[in-house]
Subunit: 231 residues, 2 copies
DNA sequence: CTGCATCCGGGCCGATACTG
DNA sequence: CAGTATCGGCCCGGATGCAG
């Protein structure tokens, strides 16, 4: 179990008893992309100590969040996979601190792009422009493909990309999310080839406004202390 | 900031840099009920050390999640209030470990009931039966009121309750969530007065099935490692 | 080489005492 | 009431060792 159980009869506290420890949710993030071996988890979790990874894997396994399949592969249980929603909700909440603060000295792994892009291009939009975008980032090459209203990211080169993006992840993400225009992205170190303005037609019409909301405005919050009905 | 920043350019990691520390999300839980003074936070967070509460309040304040208003009152910023969704998502995910494991030696505070009840009775259901339920728990008395399709919980006695429930929180919650029938709840120490079967008409027709899902079933998860479009 | 276990220093956590 | 100060213990983090 966790560092120590909170010992509170509360759903949130019990959730944190299971996945509230340091690194635990990031391990789940890695496993959301599918089963992974130990070494791959280490690579996807820069900064973690090997013993900590082993400890967390044991904890999560005992709690029923992951399971230790054959070939030393770890995978999420069905219950563990249901963490995708709370995890994406937390990530969406953190959009301001991602967009407002540049990459800095933070590490990055190319496969992390899949999650924010899944949020940005969520769902099916029949009006979405079909196109192919090749992305060079972190010494890796990935392909963003729009077809039949859906957008998917896969690893590897594209055959005939309409746009090629190469540069730091924050510039790529800022451009794809619509937070940066092409010239600003270029100033941030992004190399753009092709019809960049077509990228705007990948995003659905109504776009995440949270990215532009101010984090530090002052305003009173609700005063009722019980029974707020959340629709 | 946190114990130490993960140093990863990833929305989830940056979210955890802000609210990933021990107790942080539970402090946010307390403040979701409205502004609170220091002492009230201590009462609502059984087990926390005073210095840790002070540290976390400072961190959250620096990060822009909460603000220190007049009269030593702490309140969520607008950005902090947006944590309600990720937090409820985590709590919903933990329903199995709440329903399957009894209260045990865990502590409980009556105002915590507001959150699970808000989830159980979320939204407006015009067909919902109007009624009043008085709840005695943790040496406290609260009133669950159904009117105009909405269900609200407030502290204090009811004037003419159709049902009065008195007992341990797990029995109360199990009964209200429909996980326990009346006789089982009584066996768990619950005192029931009035037309208990009317309680079933408080819940919407489609009910949280997650509560009954098995936590430890074995099944392969998805294999695609990138670009899963979450509708 | 992968998949851990062991060891150890530093820092956070947790309990208590203390101050304005 | 609202915190600050202090101190043990344990977890975290990094390095290293070792078995398959």
């Amino acid at each position: 179990m966790a560092v120590k159980s909170y010992g509170q009869y509360c759903a949130l506290a019990r959730a944190l008893d299971v996945v509230g420890d340091r690194w635990s949710l990031l391990i789940v993030r890695e496993l959301l992309d599918g089963p992974a071996r130990y070494r791959r988890l280490l690579d996807g979790l820069p900064g973690i100590a090997t013993n900590l990874l082993a400890d967390r894997l044991r904890q999560l396994s005992d709690a029923g969040v992951i399971e230790h399949g054959g070939h030393a592969e770890y995978r999420l249980t069905p219950w563990g996979q249901e963490l995708r929603e709370p995890l994406y909700a937390l990530a969406r909440w953190a959009v301001p601190v991602v967009m407002r603060r540049p990459l800095g000295t933070d590490t990055f792994r190319s496969h992390w792009l899949a999650h924010p892009l899944a949020v940005i291009y969520a769902g099916c939009d029949p009006a979405r422009r079909p196109m192919t975008v090749e992305i060079h980032v972190d010494g890796d090459i990935m392909t963003l493909q729009s077809a039949n209203g859906y957008v998917e990211l896969r690893s590897g080169k594209a055959t005939k990309p309409e746009v090629v993006l190469a540069g730091p992840p924050d510039a790529i993400l800022g451009l794809l999310a619509g937070q940066l225009d092409a010239s600003t992205a270029k100033a941030a170190g992004l190399d753009i080839t092709g019809r960049v303005h077509h990228l705007a037609e990948l995003r659905p019409t109504t776009l995440l406004r949270a990215a532009t909301s101010d984090m530090s405005t002052n305003e009173a919050n609700g005063t009722s202390d019980v029974g707020r009905c959340t629709s």
